[in-house]
């Protein structure tokens, strides 16, 4: 594991020695390009170890990862490395760690001691950590919570709901925004218009809240030349006139098209004729060439060409204007939303993941950087000084994140001190998050910004994939010419940094192949390009011939369950993944999971049962849910009972109680699957209950939409998009959906203005974009990015396989339908690249799967040996012997009989009425102060009682005094001398196994001459303020049991016979004594 390092020992300023001990003998800036599976984590962990060995304090190190798994893994690896090094040190065979200032054991100790201050975090949690200590600066309470995706969506929903409900000025603003957005083509549902827009553009807007950037005036002015075509009608007429001369039989058609032609504003699918005319338009000459009109080629004469050119300009201008309008509408929608969103964040004390970097950036907004003082304050609050930065998966860092990070790291980069360092590991080839802001160019930027030596390294030996898999990857991506020809600039950029991979797993060969499925497999070919409108009309599910071939492939060849393999089918789009998973499930190829996630609330009968019960409870009108429930085994009887009890259960026990109740009613025994789902449902409910919400509709949404992530599983097939598979590895991988051409995904174009600035624009139709040079350029830029990213996606997909890789594409349509050659508009598909690089010579049919041909093959299908470590010593040590410990000694809760009549719970709230209990407590306290009614002990009471103003304390003292001085009670406070007097004594006792805990108000104990007890009187003071009608009888009835217990305790304590103990209730208010006869208080 020797690492060759170019060490640059850097001189240290003297005062720095105190921090690091010794000079750092490692590279201060290190950039590592690590291809897939080559051990990025390992590299990073090694770096941390090096830092530690150099004497760096652990809390000065910040390592940033993208996933929590990675963070944990790095921690483990650091520990393992230190342990290994310490062990070799121990045996004396330690490698000399260069300038290692600290031995491995000491480093390990230091590392463990600093655990709580260790910054080994995901980038998100790092940001949150910082924001959390800035409540003053951000206005967010320190205790803010983080919203998960579900909660963020719920918040968005509710804010949008508010927006749609609010009247007045807000409504007018919204109406204006919507008007701009729809340009007169309002749909039925504002919600369906706005909700998707928010989820699509909200993040982007947060980063770019400057409204002027969104389709602002400047853009419109820059792109639309001074002279405008305004008279569409006139143009149309003139063309009509000329057309009737030139092509009389198209005149009527032209007439009929009037409305469509004049209305075109670059939105939606344009009429064929418009597209044709626009395509023939040449922006330079400003005129049109020949075009097709209802299958007839029309060659315009020069005048007509010019007229048509003007018509095209008319469309272009209108479209551009409309696009600007739409963009501005969007911006004003987002602007309005933003205000609400921010208010909600502050008042709810919650933020979403993406808010943290933004907040942090805003802290540094003034003056372009985090000002030194603020940073000092933050560092103080964090108890940290971060000098060494390490970044994992650097290519995924988004611009937005980087702009926030830069505030913190910038100094480390620029610093020339030897005490700070930066380390990045990443792989531009895996930057598949461009669509959400990942920016692979940052890597280069850092390198250029860094002053001083930058150490670079490239890793291309895979520890994940076996040689056959790597072979295929090398063949596909090693062909510079194919990449360039198919992908243009993007391909060139890709090829520039390519280095052939190698596999470190030389023991086994693995297997890889490229397969094509003929269109003769009996299924209609996949219909591409039906992006919209599929919903309403198409009944038939779109399917691809690849589907059934895949089923066979998995069932006959991969056999994951039988061979105990983890297996993934990787596709590019969510829709495909969903469809394919459905299909595989229906074909029963085993357990199939979508996106490594399951939806316990929606993917099984139990989840639906819970949903049905709740839905019919909350909306009795939903006869569908109710019918479903009645048709379930719970049946009609349950329905009616449920209607009565459901709410009580919900509010008493939460959703967890509801789930338990419903599932508990099922009499059918559940199989393994059912049991597992039942557990997951319970857990979901339990988690939801933590929020304290009892909102049924919200819970139902949660139940339906909330996934549970599953770890890698053997035997199951996971269908997922490549994006979800990033960072994962599988024994066998099938890569499909390779025949889709690249589409530009983002509708937002970044348009460079002549003056240098850039603006954002909701792109109009492609036909329009290509005819406006600035837009065309912007689109090209976007396309290049997109193409590059597509290559990354393919690369990531192919490198997920450990042992077996199956690349499956649909055979291209017959030669006749070859796309028009030379037309660059046909975007490349992955299949094109695969065919170019992998197909050479003959293919052979795949034996087990009809219609499938093998075009490329490496390695062989062997029997997989289970990796060691996975099937570890299984349960053995886990099995528990029966344990027979004795129950703990004290396991009773004491029974404390009620001493006073307490107010009923509800009566606490009677306004202005002091609580009876509190009064009682005070009176007892006063009475307990007096042992004997002599002047000395009564004096303080008198003093209190006579104080003004009179509050409860004074009242209590007066009541006590009246009682003590009354005739009836006199004797109580003047017992014969020699009497032992207990006042207000708590006691404990066990009575027939019951633990009794109480307080004796007053006990007089009379002794035999020999000092042993002879008899006793038990006085119990009562402060009941009840009217006297029911009188003593009532009092007796109320306290008979309590006093009985007390007397019984006293019997046990004193060993007196029960007759020797009198029990007397002292009714303080009316000053009455009530003797409790022993027979009634039979001992227990």
């Amino acid at each position: 594991m020797g690492v060759r390092r170019r060490s640059l020992p850097l001189p240290l300023v003297p005062w720095d020695r105190r921090n690091v001990g010794e000079s750092l003998s490692i590279d201060r800036c290190c950039l590592i390009r690590a291809s897939a599976g080559t051990g990025k984590t390992e590299e990073l962990a090694r770096r941390i170890v090096d830092l530690l060995r150099c004497g760096v304090e652990p809390h000065r190190i910040v390592a940033v990862t993208f996933t929590r798994r990675a963070a944990a893994e790095i921690l483990d690896r650091v520990l393992v490395k230190l342990v290994e090094q310490a062990e070799t040190d121990g045996t004396g065979g330690g490698e000399d760690r260069g300038g290692g200032a600290r031995n491995a054991l000491a480093s390990l100790q230091a590392f463990l001691a600093d655990l709580p201050r260790l910054q080994l975090r995901t980038i998100d949690s790092l940001f949150q950590r910082i924001v959390r200590v800035c409540p003053i600066e951000t206005g967010l309470p320190e205790s803010f919570q983080l919203m998960d995706e579900f909660e963020a969506r719920e918040l968005r929903r509710s804010l949008l709901g508010d927006m749609l409900r609010e009247g007045g000025k807000a409504a007018a603003m919204l109406a204006e925004a919507v008007g701009r957005l729809t340009q007169g083509e309002d749909g039925k549902s504002p919600w369906m218009l706005l909700d998707p827009l928010l989820s699509q553009f909200w993040e982007a807007y947060q980063e770019e809240p400057d409204r002027e950037r969104w389709g602002g005036e400047a853009l419109c002015r820059a792109l639309i030349p001074g002279r405008r075509e305004t008279d569409g009608e006139g143009l149309w007429q003139e063309i009509a006139r000329r057309l009737s001369v030139q092509v009389p039989d198209r005149r009527d058609a032209w007439e009929r098209m009037r409305a469509v032609l004049l209305a075109y504003r670059g939105n939606g699918t344009a009429h064929r004729l418009i597209v044709n005319i626009l395509e023939s338009y040449d922006p330079d000459s400003g005129s049109c060439g020949e075009f097709y009109f209802q299958r007839r080629k029309i060659v315009p004469d020069p005048e007509m060409a010019r007229l048509l050119g003007r018509l095209a300009t008319f469309w272009l201008q209108n479209s551009l204007e409309a696009a600007c309008e739409r963009t501005r509408g969007l911006a004003s929608l987002l602007f309005g939303f933003r205000a609400r969103y921010r208010r909600a964040l502050h008042s709810q004390g919650r933020i979403a993941f993406s808010d943290a970097p933004r907040l942090l950036r805003e802290l540094g907004a003034e003056g372009g950087g985090l000002d030194q003082e603020l940073w000092l304050r933050i560092a103080f609050r964090l108890d940290s000084h971060w000098d060494h930065w390490l970044f994992d998966e650097f290519q995924d860092t988004s611009r937005a994140q980087w702009r926030a990070l830069e505030l913190l790291v910038g100094e480390a980069i620029q610093s020339t001190e030897g005490t700070r360092s930066v380390f990045c590991v990443g792989d531009g080839k895996q930057s598949i998050y461009g669509w959400r802001g990942g920016d692979r160019r940052l890597f280069e930027e850092i390198a250029s910004r860094y002053e001083g030596g930058v150490a670079r390294k490239t890793l291309s030996t895979s520890y994940r994939s076996q040689p056959a898999v790597i072979d295929l990857v090398n063949v596909v991506f090693g062909s510079k010419t194919a990449l360039e020809e198919l992908y243009g600039n993007a391909g060139r950029a890709w090829a520039k940094d390519w280095e052939p991979h190698a596999s470190a797993l030389s023991g086994a060969s693995g297997y890889s192949c490229y397969l094509e499925v003929g269109s003769d497999s009996g299924e209609p070919p996949c219909r591409e390009g039906m992006e919209e409108g599929a919903g309403e009309e198409t009944e038939e599910e779109r399917s691809s011939p690849v589907d059934s071939a895949l089923v066979c492939l998995i069932r006959e060849i991969i056999r994951p369950a039988e061979r105990e393999l983890s297996c993934a089918v990787l596709v590019q789009t969510n829709a495909w993944a969903r469809r394919l998973a459905d299909r595989l499930r229906k074909e029963r190829v085993g357990s199939v999971f979508l996106e490594g996630e399951i939806f316990p609330g929606a993917d099984n009968q139990l989840g639906r049962l819970v949903a049905a019960a709740l839905q019919s409870l909350v909306h009795p009108r939903d006869t569908l849910a109710r019918g479903w429930l009645q048709a379930s085994p719970l049946g009609d009887g349950f329905c009616q009972e449920w209607e009565k009890n459901g709410w009580r259960i919900l509010y008493g026990k939460g959703f967890q109680g509801v789930v338990a109740e419903i599932l508990g009613r099922l009499r059918t025994a559940l199989d393994d699957f059912g049991k597992e789902r039942a557990v997951l449902l319970q857990e979901m409910a339990c988690r939801f209950d933590q929020t304290g919400s009892r909102d049924v509709e919200r819970f139902l949404r949660y139940l339906r939409d909330q996934p549970v992530r599953l770890p890698e599983m053997t035997g199951a097939v996971q269908v997922m998009t490549v994006h979800k598979a990033k960072g994962l590895g599988f024994d066998a991988v099938v890569v499909a959906e390779l025949e889709q051409p690249v589409r530009i995904r983002s509708r937002l174009l970044e348009v460079d203005l002549p003056q240098g600035a850039s603006r954002l624009l909701l792109a109009p139709a492609k036909t329009i974009v290509t005819k406006i040079p600035e837009l065309a350029k912007a689109r090209e830029k976007a396309q290049k990015e997109e193409l590059f990213e597509r290559l990354c996606v393919l690369y990531v997909a192919l490198t997920r396989a450990r042992r077996e890789l199956y690349v499956v594409a649909e055979a291209p349509p017959g030669k006749r339908k070859e796309p028009r050659s030379g037309s660059r508009s046909a975007a490349p598909t992955h299949r094109d690249l695969l065919r170019r690089t992998l197909v050479a010579g003959e293919s052979r049919p795949l034996r087990q799967v009809s219609g499938m041909n093998v075009f490329f093959e490496r390695g062989e299908l062997g029997k997989p040996e289970r990796q060691e470590g996975l099937s570890n010593d299984e349960e053995e040590s886990e099995r528990l012997p029966p344990l027979a410990f004795l129950p703990r000694s004290v396991r009773l809760t004491p029974l404390a009989p009620s001493r006073s009549s307490e107010d009923r719970a509800a009566e606490f709230f009677a306004a202005g009425r002091p609580s009876g209990r509190e009064f009682g407590v005070l009176v007892h306290e006063m009475l307990a102060r007096v042992e004997r009614a002599d002047a000395g002990s009564l004096e303080p009471l008198r003093r209190i009682a006579s104080a003004t103003p009179s509050t409860m304390v004074e009242e209590a003292a007066a009541a006590a005094l009246r009682c003590i001085e009354s005739r009836t009670c006199e004797a109580i406070f003047a017992p014969p001398s020699g009497t032992i007097i207990w006042r207000e004594k708590p006691f404990e006792a066990l009575l027939s196994g019951r633990w009794i805990s109480g307080i004796f108000d007053r006990v007089h104990l009379f002794l035999e001459p020999n000092g042993s007890p002879a008899s006793a009187i038990l006085y119990d003071f009562k402060t009941d303020r009840e009217p006297l009608e029911r009188g003593e009888e009532g009092l007796l009835a109320r306290y008979r049991e309590q006093v009985g217990l007390y007397r019984a305790v006293l019997v046990r304590m004193t060993a007196l016979r029960i007759e020797k103990i009198r029990a007397i209730l002292v009714w303080v208010g009316p000053q009455r004594l009530v003797e409790v006869p022993p027979s009634l208080a039979g001992s227990l």
Binding site: R68, E87, G139, A175, K188, F380, S591, W628, R709
Partner: protein, 917 residues
């Protein structure tokens, strides 16, 4: 007092050791008397345990000692100067300050450029400030004192805090309340307490609040306070005089690596191991689960519940999940939103039933909910009063809520009081109920005391916020089951004497616990201020760990369970206490800790259907009457038809903001029908005039639907309708110019087929100048539809019910809909001598220029007859109960049907056979 340490050893449980020690020192004549003893124990729960242990040793009974927790030494918080402010009062005052002018302005604690402070925000910050005060109280410090101490990089911040604190005290004083800290400092100064005792002992309390120790030190300087420590003499160096573990000693102390230590990959495995361990015991009473990380608690409970093991937490369960907390929250929502949703939620709340008079009036809740839904989707009204106006059944409840709202506006606190009284009435007097009531009452009193000094009047919702805050801090006692495993927090474990202890969640951050109050008091600053340090906490926990392990080493068992990932996927790490070992063995120890027990590779069970839906018998049981549109369902899927038309299963869709697609279509229809009925417009060929008429009609329709004003979202929708109407106007004008005139609109018809009656309504019937008739159906879907494609499809694709198939021009076709053909048939019945008949859609899609009349081009009489016979075939099949098997149809892929039947009804339903099948 001066401390005098006694080492009890640690081979036995602490309660037993302490009880023995005490009993040896009891006095009494005739009976055992401990009543002159004052015992200080860490928590109430440990006090109970001690009393129990004593009781078990002296079952005949004894006079009990006074048992208090350290801070109870300061008494009830009432001193000569006034009453100590409770938590609600403190929050109230801070909130006032944060929201009042002093909060903003130049010297504000929180500069307000970035945001507009509101109550909710202030509440959170106030909590944070109270927390800071509490932490500072460990050193008897206040904000002002901290400022004097200096050494903070932000002196201005502390100056502002100190100023605020001054005002905070003043406001409290106005309400006759004293700051918590002040009362204590006063007691400390006079060095007195209210206990009439002879002997004092601090028992098993390794981490008493520093203020309590201070008081002990001050009081009765010559007396002795016994300090009972569960540890042997040998480790005497490990404790200071008051029995607090010494950081230096415990940092060096090596901890054993217990044999039953397990590190799991995931928390789920951990909880289920804990449950296994409990289950392995003959008696659950022999086990305690030490819940080191409170996050685990709900999931532990869940796992135990799944195995039918009852659990008991002597500390009680948080009141935040109680129905009272949710009642207060629901009320608050009603006060804030005053909308239908919040009113609806209250109606559902059982605790509100009494107050709303649900039982009194005796209405079924489901009936009310149904009414509410109906009212809501009809009016889209946001406030509940106007929504309910149209549903007389709801009146009394609305009235009550309304009354509460207006009372709350006038006198918030009084209204809340009354409401609580009514709600708690008749709810029984269970201990937990009483506890809550007491707590709420105290909170109310505190707020009432302060009311007059308010700078900013709080409204009822804000008062409720404070009440909710208060009760959420409460723990309610739970019923102890017959036999149960106890769940206890880490700090309670020293006092636990169960022979088998399972430490669940022995994680870094939980043991030792990480205190985070970083914004004001980061840990190094706390240390500098002399507050409890992390090192002290770590020493305490090291001691606790050793003590609880050692006492079970001979006669018991201890399992230490930790995990590497939380359920949410957050990485975790086992407690650093596990690494307390000699340097030489550290590498080995690290390996042990990293040896994660993978849950045995989960083999996922293949999905199955836990039960089928039993639906049947598949029979048409109603009268033989059906609408024409219903036939479309049969053509799509007979089983779908059965559920929807025979069983009348219908989803309930409610969009709280806007009209749903159906209502949208209806509105458009109604407007167009108004137009069609207007004789004066019949021959109008001026689009502007038509449009003006339609705009008017739309306005009328809206007014009728929403007499209180059009909701904003509907206004947006009405603009969409206007757009479509404008397109319609142009198109209509053109049609009229071409000679088409409207003959009839909304013409209902009945069509008999066999002994069935088909109902329908033709949207519009036009006639042109040559007498041709055209039957038109309005279609308002977003995209333009073509009637032919909507009705017919070549039967190659997909299947369909047999009744739908037919041969035409030598090819096989399948009906998807029979609407227009049956309209034609019905019309022909009415006008027998009908000349040429055309059928068409009048499409009004989103894109205006595509609006227009789309005729069925290839329409023939033949198709009409075929459609009739298709209808007959369908009705025949319906009569015969041919509803099974389901077809693959898009209907099953549409929500919510897709959800309920998973897109595969054939597998989910076990249909009972119909009469024929």
């Amino acid at each position: 007092m001066r401390p005098e340490r006694t080492f009890l050893g640690w081979n036995q449980p602490l309660p037993a050791l302490a009880a023995e020690w005490l009993l040896d020192r009891a006095g009494g004549c005739g009976c055992l008397d401990l009543s002159r003893w004052l015992l200080i124990v860490p928590t109430r729960q440990s006090g109970r345990t001690l009393r129990g242990a004593l009781c078990l040793r002296r079952p005949e009974g004894f006079l009990a000692p006074r048992v208090v927790t350290p801070m109870e030494l300061y008494g009830e918080g009432r001193s000569a100067a006034g009453k100590a402010a409770g938590p609600t009062a403190r929050l109230w005052v801070w909130i006032q300050l944060l929201l009042s002018e002093e909060g903003g302005g130049e010297n504000a604690l929180f500069p307000r450029e970035a945001f507009q402070p509101d109550f909710a925000w202030a509440l959170r910050v106030a909590k944070s400030l109270c927390e800071a005060q509490d932490i500072l109280s460990e050193g008897a410090l206040s904000f002002a004192r901290v400022r004097e101490e200096g050494s903070h990089p932000e002196p201005e911040l502390w100056l502002r805090l100190a100023r605020l604190e001054e005002r905070y005290r003043a406001i409290l004083a106005d309400g006759g309340l004293l700051d918590w800290m002040e009362t204590r400092l006063e007691i400390l100064r006079v060095a007195s307490w209210n206990f009439d005792v002879d002997r004092v002992a601090l028992v098993g309390c390794p981490d008493p609040h520093p203020l309590a120790v201070r008081l002990l030190e001050r009081i009765l300087r010559d007396e002795v306070c016994s300090v009972l420590i569960q540890a042997p003499e040998e480790v005497a160096d490990g404790f200071d005089g008051w029995g607090r573990p010494d950081p230096a000693f415990w940092r060096r102390r090596e901890m054993p690596f217990l044999p039953n230590t397990r590190i799991y990959a995931e928390e789920g495995a951990l909880t289920s191991r804990a449950a296994d361990l409990v289950a392995a015991n003959r008696s659950w009473d022999a086990v305690t689960i030490g819940v080191c990380d409170s996050r685990l608690l709900p999931f532990l409970r869940l796992t135990l519940e799944e195995r039918n093991i009852s659990a008991f937490d002597p500390g009680g369960i948080s009141a935040s999940g109680s129905e009272w907390a949710s009642l207060l929250a629901d009320l608050r929502e009603l006060l804030r939103q005053r909308n239908l949703a919040s009113f609806r939620r209250l109606l559902c709340h059982p605790a509100a039933a009494g107050w709303l008079g649900l039982q009194q009036i005796g209405t079924e809740r489901s009936f009310l909910l149904e009414r509410l839904d109906r009212a809501a989707s009809r009016t889209l009204a946001q406030d509940f009063q106007s929504a309910a106006r149209q549903e007389p059944g709801l009146e009394p409840f609305v009235e009550r809520a309304q009354r509460f709202l207006s009372e709350a506006e006038a006198e918030p606190l009084a209204a809340i009081r009354r409401l609580l009284e009514e709600s708690f009435d008749g709810k029984g007097d269970a201990g937990s109920q009483r506890l809550l009531c007491e707590e709420l009452e105290l909170a109310l009193e505190e707020m009432e005391a302060l009311r007059s000094s308010a700078k900013r009047r709080l409204d009822a919702a804000e008062y409720l916020d404070l009440l909710i805050e208060r009760i959420c801090q409460q723990h309610l006692p739970e019923e102890r089951p017959e036999e149960a495993v106890e769940l206890r927090g880490w700090l309670e474990l020293l006092w636990d004497d169960a022979p088998h202890l399972v430490l669940a969640g022995f994680q870094e951050g939980a043991v030792p616990e990480a205190i985070a109050h970083d914004f004001l008091l980061p840990s190094s600053f706390r240390e500098r201020l002399g507050l409890r340090t992390n090192a002290q906490r770590e020493a305490r926990d090291a001691y606790l760990f050793e003590a609880i392990a050692t006492q079970r080493s001979e006669r018991g068992r201890i399992d230490v369970l930790a995990a590497r990932f939380s359920r949410e996927g957050e990485p975790l790490f086992p407690s650093r206490l596990l690494f307390r070992c000699p340097a030489a063995v550290l590498p080995e120890r690290v390996r042990q800790v990293l040896d994660v027990r993978n849950a045995p590779q989960r083999h996922q069970p293949a999905s199955t259907d836990s039960f089928p839906l039993v639906i049947g018998p598949l029979r048409w049981e109603g009268e033989k009457r059906i609408s024409v549109t219903a036939l479309r369902d049969y053509l799509a899927c007979p089983f779908f038809f059965f559920l929807r038309r025979a069983r009348r299963w219908e989803e309930f869709e409610r969009l709280p903001e806007e009209l749903n697609a159906r209502e949208f279509g209806l509105l458009l229809h109604d407007v167009l029908a108004d137009f069609g009925r207007a004789d004066e417009m019949r021959e109008c060929n001026q689009s502007e005039a038509i449009e003006a008429f339609l705009r008017d009609a739309l306005r009328r329709e809206l007014q009728q639907r929403f007499p209180e004003g059009t909701p904003p979202a509907v206004a947006l929708q009405s603009r969409a309708i206007q757009g479509r109407l404008a397109a319609f106007s142009r198109m209509q004008a053109k049609e009229v110019r071409q000679g088409w005139k409207t003959l009839l609109v909304e013409a209902p018809f009945e069509l008999r087929i066999g002994d069935w009656q088909l109902d329908g309504r033709i949207d519009r019937i036009d006639r042109d100048s040559e007498g041709r008739i055209r039957l038109v159906d309005f279609k308002s879907s977003e995209r333009a539809l073509n009637p032919e494609a909507a009705h017919l499809v070549a039967s190659g694709k997909g299947q369909g019910p047999a009744a739908a198939l037919f041969l035409w021009k030598g090819r096989e076709f399948r009906w998807r809909d029979l609407q227009l053909p049956l309209y034609a048939a019905a019309w022909r019945l009415r006008e027998a001598s009908c000349p040429e008949l055309r059928v068409a859609y009048l499409v009004l899609p989103k894109e205006r220029e595509k609006a227009g009349v789309v005729e069925w081009q290839s329409w023939t009489r033949e198709l009409e007859r075929e459609a009739e016979s298709c209808a007959a075939r369908i009705l025949q099949a319906v009569e015969e109960g041919r509803f099974w098997p389901p077809e693959r149809s898009a209907e099953w892929d549409r929500e919510p049907w897709r959800f309920w039947f998973d897109g595969r009804p054939a597998e989910i339903v076990a249909a009972a056979p119909g009469p024929l099948g």
